[in-house]
Symmetry: C2
Subunit: 160 residues, 2 copies
DNA sequence: CAATCAAATGCAAGATTCTTGCATCGAGAC
DNA sequence: GTCTCGATGCAAGAATCTTGCATTTGATTG
């Protein structure tokens, strides 16, 4: 196991800024923009991936193009906030493929979900399963997205 | 300009399923899993990108690792829903780098935002600018994420 | 301030991956 | 049946990525 530089320098930050916009840019192009050689870029990227700074490399797919055009934001309030039951519902949400994002939050409700479905029928079925049948949901509020203003933006990285 | 197969067949679906998990998998590996040759995979990927089915290819970065650990979900209600002012505020949100996701929604509020900030001070400043100074915001409600259960999951693609 | 050591760098060669030309295949039109 | 057009696989060529090695850089120590 190799030992790592623990802090990210300005080269790393610039690199992250570039790859979170497009991770298929050739290394020699990144190299030129960052101001290092291509092998240096390769080694830094490898470390950033090993360290988990880069968590994954994914293609972003147009949900409508694959027949799943509906995005729905849901606020969920649970009935029982005991650790065991909270862990249970977190695990349930984690496993549910239709939930694309899920946060456990403060502020009058317990969870916020971003859900992707084919149509309202699938959403109805989703709520039935996740909120009624599987239990521990006191109430939920549904917000249907009429328009996606933006999605999957990268973290803003000011070159510190 | 080339003419395209307009529908996605099961090869495309399988391919999308794979690249939305990891878009750096070598084409010969994808080829084997999908059941086509490597050049066929390459040509399909190119078309999917040109068609916009694959919208972008990005590295997902650990927000905490780059010093921006706070995720905040905000519900925004506007004062004036006239087209012009609505377009204005959409454009404002689109341009704001701290807003990672933004949906215009039905259901008792107008927008849902997912915001990334370094700390509460930055969030306070964000609300001041976006919600008070720039106008047309009647009210907003803040939900601070205590725990990210999941994020940036791919669209569920059942091989139809 | 020089000496030392570990980590990072650039270069160049080698390995892998991607792209392209071409002949062939297959489904639909006529 | 035959024609046409798009898609395919193979193989060669092009581009990209990785690795070994000598050198440089930077922090630490004496």
């Amino acid at each position: 196991m190799q030992k790592y530089r623990s802090t990210l320098d300005r080269f790393d930050m610039k690199l992250l800024q570039l790859v979170q916009v497009s991770n298929r840019t050739p290394q020699h192009v990144l190299a030129e923009e960052v101001g290092l050689s291509a092998p240096a870029i390769a080694r830094r990227l490898q470390k950033l991936r090993e360290q988990g700074v880069i968590q994954k490399d994914m293609a972003i797919i147009d949900a409508a193009a694959v027949g799943r055009p509906l995005t729905i934001i849901v606020q969920v309030t649970v009935e029982d906030e005991s650790f065991a039951l909270l862990d249970e519902i977190k695990e349930r949400f984690r496993r549910c493929e239709q939930i694309l994002h899920c946060h456990y939050v403060t502020g009058g409700t317990d969870f916020v979900l971003i859900v992707n479905v084919r149509d309202m029928e699938e959403y109805t079925q989703f709520t039935r399963t996740q909120f009624f049948e599987l239990g521990n949901v006191k109430s939920f509020q549904t917000y249907v997205s009429m328009e996606c203003i933006k999605a999957n933006e990268g973290i803003p990285l000011d070159l510190e």
